[in-house]
Amino acid sequence: MNASLRRIGAVVLRYAYLHKRSLPRVFEIVFWPVMELLVWGFVSVYVRSLSADPAVRIAVFLIGAMIFWDILYRSQQGVSIAVIEDVWTQNIVNVLVSPLRIWEWLTATFIYGFLKTCVITAILWALAYGLYRFDLADAMGLYLVPLAANLFLFGWALGVFTSALVIRWGHAAEALIWGIPFLVQPLSAIYYPLSTLPEWLRPFALLLPSTHVFEGMREVLATGRMASASLWASFGMNLVAFAAASMVFRFLYGQAKNTGRLGRLGLD
């Protein structure tokens, strides 16, 4: 087997071991997304009951948006939590002095985040169908794949960025892992259309790949199709976000290496 693949496999195996017996971790995967779906789902049912017009598809928008947001959030968390897990367990120096390359480590966290998010999405999909008769695949059709792929990419880019903060500032940056995704949430126009935002804010919102995805999702749910330009814009911005996150990671890793922080990660 290729040495890089073997090392990536070893890191993924480490995360798989973690979930194998840890009930709190399995619970964490299922609990929050399910609670969120229940709240948003019942809000949607209520909103639907307020309007007699069948053209009003607010309920579908809200449930779809909630599931899509979870893809973005969980993929970011998958990367950052995997990195901070090694800081928490004081194992990070063992990892950093092994033959594992940084890109292999991050790739393993992407795979871990992807698998975890797929499990969560499947659960939400089934629940949304069972409780609210919302079939994500039927509603989104083939658009589901490129839209979800964009959310994964943006989630990973955010994950690389927040992991860089952990590498540079250790435990002190922990709160940012949870908080930074919520910084992009209002601008991403997740639960409302972009036109809801003040006019001056919209150009900034359009700089986020996630805004194009959520606008596209609503377009698909309303009309069954979306402009391919939005998809390409989202991919393009994801490439920029990924490049920027990688540069930040490289810079902060270098700083941690220069200040001696890298060798002390997890020890304070």
């Binding site: 890191v11 195996l13 367990t89 063992n94 002095v97 290496k257 220069n258 001696g260």
Partner: protein, 253 residues
């Protein structure tokens, strides 16, 4: 710079400062294959700084560093395949079982026939029965031995051991030393060893480098250094050097 294959570590004029604090100043040291070099000194002497530079975790300020003939700043990954590290302060994940941790690191180091290798090393350190236990549930002594199993998985040519016996009781520390010495002799490994336990260093190390406030104060085989300073043992030497040098150099790591 020499590429002598027997020379595992060669450090020349190594310096590192953190702001105005001098952590290392002009350090020279070498470590030959099959030898154990003790890196001694009080807290803040620069021992950990030196080890972190050798592992590629820290960028040196100036000077030249070659580990296994390579620059750890540029070729850390290639060095890491032939080197390993254990420290009393760096743990394996407590929430994984012992064999799970060792499987993961066997994968990272590309160990062939990992299962057999893990079993053999667990046996060697007398911890085979702990294989199925959660690492976090082990005693300090057991954790230390499992850490040592991890750091021998890749049959390293060079071992960096940062106070590996700290927090062990004397009997367990003796057991670990004996096992390490045996493995080192059998396999011709070079070991860079830091410890505050001076009798341990005297027993284990072929030569020592004594650091204080980033400067190399003394170097050589323990007996020669003791004779030079007119002291009976390394404990006495440690106290003598630290008191004599106290205030004559600035900073520490």
């Amino acid at each position: 710079m020499s590429t002598d294959p027997a020379l595992l570590v060669r450090v020349t004029g190594l310096s590192k400062t953190y702001g105005s604090t001098v952590a290392l100043s002009g350090l020279d040291l070498t470590l030959q294959r099959g030898r154990i070099l003790g890196l001694l000194g009080p807290n803040g002497a620069g021992k950990t700084t030196a080890i972190h530079i050798l592992m590629g975790l820290l960028t040196p300020g100036s000077g030249q560093v070659r580990v296994l003939g390579m620059d750890p700043g540029r070729e850390r990954h290639r060095i890491a395949e032939r080197m390993n590290f254990a420290s009393a302060y760096v743990q394996l994940p407590s929430n994984l079982k012992v064999y799970e941790n060792l499987n993961v690191f066997a994968g990272l180091y590309g160990v062939r026939d990992a299962r057999r290798k893990v079993e053999e090393l667990l046996e060697l350190f007398g911890v085979a029965e702990l294989s199925g236990r959660l690492t976090g549930s082990l005693s300090s002594g057991e954790k230390t031995r499992v850490n040592l199993v991890k750091c021998l998985l890749n049959d390293p040519e060079l071992l960096l051991l940062d106070e590996p016996t700290a927090s062990l009781d004397p009997e367990m520390a003796d057991h670990v030393r004996t096992t390490l010495r045996r493995i080192q002799r059998e396999r011709g490994i070079g070991i860079l060893y830091t410890s505050h336990n001076m009798p341990e260093v005297e027993e284990l190390c072929d030569s020592i480098v004594f650091l204080h406030q980033g400067l190399k104060i003394a170097e050589g085989p323990p007996r020669e250094v003791l004779a030079r300073y007119g002291t009976r043992d390394l404990d006495e030497l440690f106290i003598k050097i630290v008191r004599k040098e106290h205030g004559s150099a600035g900073g520490g790591s």
